[in-house]
Symmetry: C3
Subunit: 144 residues, 3 copies
């Protein structure tokens, strides 16, 4: 029995990401990683905090950073030609495919964001939720 129990190894097939900014590159990264991870059968959890919160708002369209801002449309077109959906579509797809997406409670309060400002399917949770997901995920990343 003891030996049987011993064969239980920590789950290595999950990924937990904390996102803390929302420029085009930062917003797209976890979406594309999530697409890959979900298609490989991995569990995906993404937690948005600080400036990352914007990426969960209804109608949000991420812009390229700094002086590259004006090239956002061009980048979207180039990616579209490779069959990559828009950011909003990717977020919707990932949630439908089973990714768990969380908005940070504290950030929402501090920035005055309400649940109805966020796209459908987002859950609200504290940093403990991210730490819980990360503890059982083989891959943990902070992107921002």
């Amino acid at each position: 029995m003891t030996a049987e129990r011993a064969t239980i190894v920590p789950k290595k097939d999950g990924i937990a990401i904390i996102v803390y900014n929302s420029t085009f590159d930062i917003a797209m990264m976890p979406m594309m990683i999530a697409q890959g991870a979900l298609s490989m059968g991995m569990e995906v959890g993404i937690f948005y905090t600080f400036f990352g919160m914007n990426a969960l708002k209804k109608g949000f369209r991420p812009k390229m950073p700094g002086m590259w801002r004006m090239f956002t449309g061009m980048m979207e077109k180039k990616m579209g030609r490779q069959g990559i959906p828009s950011y909003a579509q990717l977020l919707k797809d990932n949630i439908e495919m089973g990714a768990k997406v969380y908005a940070c409670t504290t950030t929402m309060t501090v920035m005055g964001v309400r649940k109805e400002d966020l796209v459908d399917g987002i859950e609200i949770a504290g940093v403990a939720k991210f730490l819980d997901m990360a503890a059982s995920a083989g891959t943990t990343l902070a992107i921002g």
Copy 2:
């Protein structure tokens, strides 16, 4: 006996963070993650390198990034109303609660930072220290 030994699984209850910038959002993130992790009984190790080094200097008060710099005071007030201490207080609290905080040896030499420039309780170590902490931590993050 073999079975007994086999029940020893890699420690999954620690978190190791490498911090490489020091704007308000970047400086606060590891502090708030550390607060959550310490209260959950996790071991916390944070390693500061490159521009992250500033966050360990005595009297350091992180500013919001870029054009948001002038809103630093407003953000501090908003967070204060949610019961979130100042950055300096959080760093002090985390160290007192048991977080291990390291300043990168190479960065200190390159940037001419001396031990007496740093807040109390900081240890000085090379990148091998971060790699050691990360190898035994279930959660590893780079924030910057």
Copy 3:
């Protein structure tokens, strides 16, 4: 037999890094972490995507970010005095020492980068390669 199998624990001695920007600090970080990790006998895998792709181009010399750009030469000199090689040399050394370095297929197509634009020894792969490396690495980081 069951007990024997139970002693097989997930490999904890590898590091997988995804890099998504290419300023001096961001480009140097994974190189110096890789140096430490390789000298400790760890397996190293680094995956470059989005703006990180530049860091793999032949002749690339990373610049300090924003207004610090003009201080790039000074920083290189200061680091050189501590025995730290140039970025290009570090990349070459790490590959020769066994680090696996990957350029993101999608980023190459979107940004019009060709294999011959990249330094020798780089492999081209999709995000699944990063997820694979990360799943078996004890330490996973996103740097950008």
